[in-house]
């Protein structure tokens, strides 16, 4: 394992410290328990908080700022944070109107946020939870812990964040977050595994001509292992279950999000995007908005995920609304 790190046990702390130094205009880093809060939040708005294991950067701390999150709680690498950190972060995100927790659907995240939400409510902070579970790779959700929260999380955070920024109330912000989740589907592929710093070995082994289809974002193996294919073929394989599950109507407007897992150059993401647009247009969908880049990653994993969000006019307007965070910025 070769990484630009010092002590494998201090990776998250040191990285977030550096992040805080680089973005001191936007965020404050609270070191112990570790969480990140927004510097300029206006009082009285609904607070937005997300968190989860680290290793998915820029998610979540990179999205703290105007028009998106008010606080982010980074756990250990690929390990959900504990209530110990979520509770004070919830308090920091609260300016009187309550806090929405955006939680990716993993047993650990759900349990820890559940406990934290209970304790924050006991302290008098209203909490609503938006569970993100957009991963169509998980087929039999009845017989599993349910679909995972993956790429769609970024879109939920942006759109719900814009709703909070324009002054929507607690239930309204949670409702728009859920609406985004209900309308987004994601599927991912890994060309290589990633190496968790404290483990020191890749999280799975993949032969030189194999890829994993249907991965999550924690370096876990996917649903199927298949022989390497070209970019167009892989794109077809990712889009097929997305469209089968989302069942968009002809003429629907969509946001197409091609996300890099961390170790794939953006040039390759654009090759995937190119074909994805063709597939969606052939299905009579209108690609109204796009996002291409490393927005929710698995350390240095090579691969990508594709998310398709069915847009309505309100979601589009909230997507377009100004945002100013370390990792997503436009309109200001």
């Amino acid at each position: 394992m070769k990484k630009l790190i010092n002590d494998p046990k201090a990776v998250v702390e040191e990285s977030v410290e550096g992040f805080g130094l680089a973005h001191a205009d936007l965020v404050t880093v609270h070191p112990d328990p570790l969480f990140v809060s927004r510097k300029d939040a206006k009082s009285g708005k609904v607070g937005l908080l997300s968190g989860g294991g680290s290793g998915h950067e820029p998610l979540h701390a990179g999205y703290v700022g105007f028009g998106m999150l008010d606080a982010a709680v980074p756990g250990a690498v690929f390990t959900s944070p504990t209530p110990e950190a979520i509770i004070p972060a919830t308090a920091a995100a609260n300016s009187g109107a309550g806090v929405v927790h955006i939680v990716k659907n993993y047993t650990g995240d759900v349990l820890n946020f559940e406990t934290a939400a209970e304790m924050a409510q006991a302290d008098g902070i209203e909490v609503r939870t938006v569970l993100v579970n957009d991963d169509v790779a998980v087929e039999d959700s009845l017989y599993t812990a349910g679909r995972r929260g993956v790429g769609g999380t970024v879109l939920v955070e942006k759109i719900a964040g814009a709703a909070a920024e324009r002054g929507d109330g607690l239930d309204a912000v949670a409702a728009i977050g859920r609406r985004v989740n209900d309308n987004v589907r994601t599927m991912g592929v890994a060309l290589s595994a990633c190496t968790v710093p404290h483990a020191g070995v890749p999280s799975f082994e993949l032969a030189d001509d194999e890829i994993e289809i249907g991965i999550g974002i924690h370096g876990e193996p996917g649903r199927h292992r298949i022989a390497m294919e070209n970019a167009d073929g892989i794109t077809d394989r990712l889009l097929e279950p997305i469209l089968a599950d989302l069942k968009p109507a002809s003429g629907d407007k969509v946001l197409l999000f091609v996300n890099g897992m961390g170790g794939t150059p953006s040039s390759e993401l654009y090759i995937v995007y190119r074909h994805a647009v063709k597939v969606l247009e052939a299905a009579n969908l209108v690609v109204e908005r796009s996002l291409v880049g490393n927005y929710i990653t698995s350390l240095e994993m090579q691969g990508c995920s594709i998310s398709v969000l069915r847009l309505d006019d309100e979601m589009t307007a909230l997507w377009d609304a100004p945002v100013h965070t370390p990792a997503l910025r436009w309109g200001m």
Binding site: G75, T79, P83, L111, N112, T115, A199, S203, G219, R223
Partner: protein, 226 residues
């Protein structure tokens, strides 16, 4: 600190010794547990538990809990705040419920121990909604609780030895199962042929409880357990 006991009950010293022995086996098996988790999860289970039990050791060095219940509650709060992931809240709930079950009793007899183990297991089920056969730590805990309930109750050491043995068998029995809860469930059939890490760590921790009780029991006072 040397664990003590009358042979028919276990006390705070036993509880503390259990936690210390748990910390030791978790540290010893840290890499192996993460390795199990790497096969069907995200490779952090050993690391997670080690972080939690290291914090428990630090707490124990600061202040010795006066009762088994206080020790369990301290362990619960520490695991909940330090472990994260699925295992943190689940183990935390287990210790919390065990603590509530024993109240502030200074000594626990076999019946109270069985009640504590049952409450712990029930807490994990309540939080995690897993059923037997879902390939989770429940597949170690439920056989352990059943064995404890059926064991010779003359000595806690015997009760815990029976529980540990059953937990170990239960962990081994997770190998062929298809996971239906937790991260491993995403693998579907590919989770077959691997041991559930949480079941494995549960067996280690219950064995530590039995070992602490055996060490605490006056010579000749223990029951049928190893």
């Amino acid at each position: 600190m040397t664990a003590t006991g009358t042979g028919t009950t276990v006390d705070a010293a036993w509880a503390i010794d259990w936690l210390r022995r748990s910390a030791a086996v978790v540290a010893e098996h840290r890499v192996a547990l993460s390795e199990l988790d790497r096969a069907i999860g995200d490779g952090d289970h050993g690391e997670n538990l080690d972080r939690g039990f290291t914090a428990i050791l630090a707490k124990l060095d600061e202040e010795a809990p006066p009762t088994p219940g206080a020790a369990f509650k301290m362990a619960a709060m520490t695991l909940i705040s330090k472990v994260g992931g699925a295992a943190g809240p689940l183990y935390g709930t287990a210790f919390l419920r065990a603590g509530t079950a024993v109240g502030d009793a200074a000594a626990l007899d076999s019946a109270l121990l069985v009640a504590a183990l049952t409450a712990a297991r029930d807490g994990v089920v309540a939080r995690g909604k897993a059923e037997s056969g879902d390939k989770t730590m429940i597949d170690a805990w439920t056989p352990a609780v059943d064995a404890a309930a059926a064991a010779d109750r003359s000595a806690p050491a015997a009760v815990l030895a029976a529980a540990a043995e059953a937990a170990e068998a239960g962990a081994v029995a997770t190998d062929p199962l298809i996971a239906r809860k937790g991260r491993a469930s995403y693998l579907g059939e590919r989770s077959m042929g691997h041991r559930d890490p949480g079941a494995a760590s549960s067996a280690l921790i219950l064995r530590a409880a039995a070992d602490a009780a055996a060490a605490a029991a006056p010579a000749g006072a223990s029951g049928t357990g190893a």
